[in-house]
Symmetry: C2
Subunit: 305 residues, 2 copies
């Protein structure tokens, strides 16, 4: 909730770039939208929840799911991709909820977040909460467990994100909103079959060597080396590993956006590297963050008491 | 060409991971392929050229284009996505040519390359050449110029790629194959309207702050700061900026794969940040790397003398 006495502007989505005010047009190139060709306040002004995730199909499925959950009019099968002019990302709007794909890895989600935050700013959106709904490798958890991120940490287990700006490395904090995280944990206790923990999430820049997998095209370490690194991660509070959380947390924080990371674990990395569960089991796991965040949204909107 | 006396194995695609030989099954998760469910030597054993690029639509268009250029039987409109079981990447096979999308950024292409190199290894492919066909920002070049990469460099203009392995940073060389690069330059001189230069390519981990753009959601530097950084890049031989070349060069080199990076510039970064050219102009630009690499492939296969 906004602090008592917060002004109108304080709740608006803030860009941190004075140049934007003087630009005649802003082309959001990778979203295939522009301030000249689209009426962004009309299209997006009522957005309160933005849900992002790696896979285009999964974010379409989430949009259709939340459409049913919010009992909106119209056929959820007929929702259209707002970014259909490009294949970089896809985007669906369902009432006050925006569902967007971001591809894999920090650079891919970073492009989308720059353009999304500008979009929310141009559209004059207020009181927006962002969620990343993802998949991850678990560290000492049963497969299918949902991890709500306490701190997004880097490969050395520090809650920071290194950003290169004009050839110089700067460090940004990756703290997330505590209130949203504990509200999500509360939501999980009100649902059946959504085992959920709060823990740290390690964000790496690749899926194989950086995460200690023994099954990539390149591997120069032993099974024991891998287990030692995972044990160190576990001791530092890491409960899952994915590839986008640090930049997501850092950019949302700089722009004053409340944000949470909600990822299901597809395997326990202490037990293996390959994702071997049957397709239908993996599909069910991937619905868990969606069900949890949908419950959060319904509570905030007063659908559920 | 293979050195005189090269053995059979020397021309094969090499993985650098002894663990793979002892695995009963290898699931290439993000490609939705596996050694148990697919006969990889039968499906891919004749591959000689692998072309990768960020956009799924563009790599499908390239597959259809090379199908026509090689005058193969069958309807190019009916080629099917070999990775249709996943939306992470798409893959098309056209005779000895494989066309694959890799998304945006180093982490995204790195996942694909690990699984692609394992695929080529499992399929016992020999004498494979890899090309990255991409788009980029130009540094002091007219928009539409094709840059064949001499060295892929990082944000400090060094020809290296930093890889984290179990929490430790290691550095890999990003040298590319000189012979393939000069053969590509020769090809460009045999074609109309494919202005081409050889130069260094800077690989960054984001599109906005890391590339000195003034139009992101975050920007803390001035127009002069930006120009100074681009001038330094130009003086270090950088002619274009993209987001995948260093890891592409580094992984291909470690695995003994000949590789080239061929990117068209969509704008001159000294003159602006936003990509403002009309859609049809951008589409024509994006065909230029495809036409150049197609000519290379046709020459190698003896279609063109």
């Amino acid at each position: 909730a906004a602090a008592f006495g917060a002004t109108f502007e304080e709740n608006q989505v803030q860009v941190k770039n004075p140049n934007l005010e003087t630009m005649e047009e802003d082309i959001l190139y990778h979203l295939s939208l522009s301030t000249k060709t689209h009426n962004l306040p009309e299209m997006f002004g009522d957005i309160k929840f933005v849900c992002v995730g790696g896979s285009a199909n999964r974010m379409k499925a989430f949009a259709q799911f939340i459409h049913k959950e919010l009992e909106l009019s119209g056929n959820p099968e007929e929702i259209t991709d707002i970014c259909e002019g490009t294949d970089r990302y896809c985007m669906y709007k369902v009432g006050p909820v925006l569902s967007i794909s971001h591809g894999m890895g920090v650079p891919s989600i970073s492009i989308m977040l720059h353009e999304l935050i500008k979009l929310l700013h141009h559209a004059q959106c207020q009181d927006v909460v962002l969620f990343r709904l993802g998949t991850s490798g678990g560290v000492g958890l049963a497969p299918g467990t949902v991890v709500v991120t306490e701190k997004a940490v880097d490969y050395s287990f520090q809650p920071q994100f290194e950003q290169v700006v004009l050839g110089k490395v700067i460090t940004r904090s990756t703290e997330l909103d505590e209130e949203v995280a504990s509200e999500l944990l509360q939501c999980s206790s009100e649902l059946q079959n959504i085992p959920t923990v709060i823990g740290n999430t390690m964000c790496t820049h690749d899926f194989y060597e950086g995460q200690g997998r023994l099954d990539g095209a390149l591997c120069s370490f032993s099974h024991e080396d891998k287990l030692e690194y995972l044990r160190k991660a576990y001791d530092a509070g890491v409960r899952n590993i994915e590839m986008e959380s640090t930049v997501f947390a850092a950019m949302c924080r700089v722009c004053g956006l409340k944000a949470a990371v909600v990822c299901v674990t597809l395997l326990n990395r202490f037990e293996g590297d390959q994702i071997k569960s049957p397709h239908d089991v993996l599909v069910e796991y991937q619905q868990r963050p969606q069900i949890l965040v949908s419950h959060f949204i319904k509570k905030r909107l007063g659908y559920v008491v």
